[in-house]
């Protein structure tokens, strides 16, 4: 353990000047960013906007049990006021009036900025906030499931860049089997089984044959795309009955679904959204609170240490990769059993790679991965809404939003994240 040799004794002395200095640098950085956001809001959404227009925020749908009245705000004033507030928050950070929870303050500033942006975009119009949030959840679902799949593999030390291929295979198999069996449940199970199979395949390559894990993943991606396209042409296009899976329906959790706003948002959904929540909690609990998780993580961090205490490294890795495959397969079934009504060539369209980004951006943590998926999905959804409203930005640039946001967040806020130490390294049993 060479690194640890250089670790110093943590000084037990008074608050450390240097640590304070780096915290201050961070604080000022966030402060300046916040202040800039405020300034933009003030200028673009406040002063620069037409006066006399209202923006209506719609908070419930007609189908919802509890109706919440719409919120109407004057667009220009909202931009101005929120801009000032955000700028003030930035100033508080820069001047050091607020010294703690800098990230939280920045987050609040960012949220208020988005509200100002929405008010400006919806001036003289209305915008469905509930729809915005609902759409975010919808778009985040496959990303979160993909990221969870990656999480399971990488926490055990196997890099999984094959999420995309696993999603695609899951989608294909689910469409085929659900159509044949006449129930989406069969599709769900078979889609997961397809994922498990690809996971095992990755395992054979990465764990047993010690193929470079990136290569192994790339093989699966290419293979999956090629095979599903090929079979799509050869089979699904000919026998269209085989591409007609029924869809899962949304259902509500009795009681909870009647809550205002959060009821329809969180508690009335298809099984996938619930599964995302359950999996987030289960993965967190499983990885950080159980024996299974401790062992999986030890294998991903220091496989030799795990080996010396009698943990079967290879078997643990296999199991994790196959479990990851199952989750990715599950994510794949979302495409055909929830989102749409059938399989279509390359229908995952790169979501597996975005899930991979979410995993890294979420720092290999289930909650982080979920948040990352939500951030990406939110910016995608926001972009759609902005395209509908009166925004002078060309659609090509609006379509870039989620990608730009991801880069900015990863570069600006997250910075270096630390992967499991043995991620990507094959383990050789002596």
């Amino acid at each position: 353990m060479p690194t640890t040799l250089t670790e110093p004794l943590a000084p037990s002395r008074e608050a450390d000047l240097v640590a304070e200095r780096s915290a201050a640098r961070r604080r000022v950085g966030f402060g300046v960013a916040t202040a800039l956001l405020g300034l933009v809001a003030m200028l673009a959404f406040g002063i620069g906007s037409e006066s006399g227009l209202d923006a209506v925020f719609v908070l419930s749908r007609s189908s919802d049990a509890v109706q919440i009245p719409d919120v109407t705000v004057p667009a220009r004033a909202t931009g101005l006021v929120l801009g000032v507030v955000v700028a003030a928050l930035g100033a508080l950070l820069v001047t050091g009036v607020v010294r703690r929870r800098t990230f939280l303050v920045f987050g609040v500033g960012l949220a208020l900025f988005v509200v100002a942006l929405l008010a400006w975009a919806a001036r003289g119009d209305d915008i469905s906030i509930i729809g915005l949030l609902d759409g975010t959840l919808f778009r985040a679902t496959p990303l979160a499931l993909g990221a969870f799949a990656g999480l399971l593999c990488e926490r055990a030390g196997v890099v999984n860049i094959a999420i995309e291929g696993m999603l695609l295979a899951g989608a294909f198999v689910a469409a085929l089997t659900a159509s044949a069996a006449g129930t989406p449940w069969v599709g769900l199970v078979c889609g997961m089984a397809a994922g498990v199979l690809l996971g095992a395949f990755l395992g054979v390559m990465a764990i047993t044959y010690r193929v470079d894990q990136i290569i192994g993943g790339t093989v699966i991606n290419i293979f999956s795309l090629g095979l599903t396209s090929y079979l799509g042409t050869q089979v699904l296009a000919r026998y269209t009955d085989l591409n007609d899976p029924g869809a899962f329906r949304a259902f509500g959790i009795p009681g909870l679904e009647r809550l205002p706003l959060v009821g329809p948002l969180l508690f009335h959904n298809t099984i996938y959204v619930f599964l995302v929540f359950v999996l987030t909690a289960a993965l967190w609990w499983g990885l950080f609170r159980t024996r299974w998780g401790l062992r999986v993580r030890s294998v991903g961090e220091h496989p030799r240490a795990a080996d010396t205490v009698g943990i079967d490294v290879l078997r643990t890795r296999y199991r994790s990769v196959m479990l990851g495959g199952a989750v990715a397969g599950l994510g794949g079934t979302w495409f055909t059993l929830d989102a749409t009504g059938g399989f279509n060539e390359n229908m995952t369209a790169g979501k597996g790679f975005i899930a991979l980004a979410a995993l890294i951006f979420g720092r290999w943590h289930p909650v982080g991965a979920l948040v990352a998926a939500l951030v990406f999905a939110f910016s995608e959804e926001l972009q759609t809404r902005l395209a509908l409203l009166d925004t002078p930005i060309p659609s090509d640039f609006l379509l870039m939003t989620p990608y730009v946001v991801t880069i900015v967040v990863v570069a600006g806020v997250v910075g270096r994240s630390r992967a499991p130490a043995a991620d990507g390294q094959p383990y050789v049993v002596e």
């Binding site: 719609v58 749908r61 189908s63 209305d126 915008i127 469905s128 509930i130 729809g131 915005l132 609902d134 759409g135 919808f138 778009r139 496959p142 799509g232 042409t233 296009a237 007609d244 869809a247 329906r249 949304a250 298809t270 979302w334 495409f335 929830d338 989102a339 749409t340 009504g341 059938g342 279509n344 060539e345 390359n346 229908m347 995952t348 369209a349 979501k351 995608e380 959804e381 759609t384 809404r385 395209a387 509908l388 002078p392 060309p394 659609s395 090509d396 379509l399």
Partner: protein, 343 residues
């Protein structure tokens, strides 16, 4: 081009007569693109059934495959080669120029010489293009008429002419309805003034089609026209999942034929009868009546049109149907402009 060579005898036009064959080269979307490649191929197949030949199709993986694929079909003695889309324009024009005896039909593209910056026509190429906006205009009118919320929506895959031509005509149709009736039905998702609107960014990700449609539903749209190939299938899922009674307007083909399961959602379809046009060209070629040059499908020649209302037949008021018939005639007579670019 680098394909001047060995088999220039190929031009199968001469010995045609008895065993006529028509073949197709797809663009990079492939033959099962649930869009124009597929529709055009249906025309080839229909002709094959009629004339008793086995149709051939070559899919292009990339633009580099266009010329070799065309060459391969010439080598195999295809009498008529159908190509699809503007991507294939130059390859088709080059091949036509070098093989004046070979017959071609290109779907959805008016050949254009980008270097000379002028239109190109060849006696051996039938350019099958469509005044889709004329039909979309009628669809916009009926959409506005049938909207209860006063909001209708549209979205596209990518903002390209073959896509936005639908949206342009659609908007003018909605405006026509408002002008006729003094109403204020709004179109969201496209704006002729900005020449821009709502797009998903590709023709593959159906889930984006679904999410986008949900956005439109949230913003109150209750008649929606997706112009995004297979991505449009996401709209069906969105409406089915939301349980709303919004309606869809399908494009290219009659939705009730191509997606029969969802027929109850289709108010109508903006039909671009590419299969019919291809079929007609093939039959004409087989009978020695092939005519090159631009061949514009319009309302007048039934190259474009709107589909029957199917399940909504009873719900569309008679006066709307009557007015649609009037409008159709006016468009044919050139009294109404259906494209914002003209005039």
């Amino acid at each position: 081009g680098d394909d001047d060579d060995d088999t220039e005898a190929g031009g199968g036009g001469g010995d045609g007569g008895g065993d006529f064959t028509a073949c197709q080269v797809t663009d990079t979307g492939g033959v099962d693109d649930k869009s124009f490649n597929e529709t055009a191929y249906k025309g080839v197949q229909d002709a094959g059934e009629e004339l008793g030949f086995e149709p051939r199709v070559l899919e292009s993986q990339s633009e580099a495959d266009f010329a070799p694929n065309i060459q391969a079909l010439m080598d195999q003695g295809c009498d008529l080669i159908v190509t699809v889309g503007f991507l294939l324009g130059d390859a088709t024009a080059d091949a036509a120029e070098q093989n004046p005896d070979q017959l071609f039909a290109i779907v959805d593209n008016d050949l254009f010489d980008a270097e000379a910056e002028e239109d190109r026509d060849y006696d051996n190429v039938a350019e099958l293009v469509f005044a889709t906006d004329e039909a979309a205009f009628l669809a916009g009118y009926v959409a506005a008429a049938m909207s209860e919320t006063g909001v209708v929506g549209t979205y596209g895959g990518i903002n390209i002419p073959t896509v936005n031509i639908f949206m342009k005509g659609f908007q003018l149709g909605v405006e026509q309805y408002n002008a006729d009736n003094g109403t204020d039905v709004r179109l969201i998702g496209w704006d002729n003034a900005q020449n821009d609107g709502l797009f998903t960014g590709d023709f593959e990700d159906e889930s984006k089609g679904r999410a986008t449609t949900e956005t439109l539903l949230d913003q109150g749209a209750d008649v929606i026209m997706p112009v995004a190939g297979p991505v449009g299938l996401g709209s069906i899922a969105a409406i089915e999942a939301s349980g709303s009674d919004a309606k869809l307007i399908w494009v290219d083909t009659d939705g009730c034929v191509s997606v029969p399961d969802a027929c109850d959602l289709f108010l109508t379809s903006v039909m671009k009868n590419m299969d019919v046009a291809v079929y007609d060209v093939a039959i004409a070629a087989a009978n020695g009546e092939f005519e090159g040059g631009t061949n514009l499908g319009t309302l007048e020649n039934d190259g474009v049109g709107i589909a029957p209302f199917h399940e909504f037949e009873d719900q569309v008021p008679q006066e709307v149907k009557d007015r649609l018939e009037e409008l159709r005639q006016q468009i044919i007579d050139g009294e109404i402009q259906t494209s914002p670019d003209e005039g």
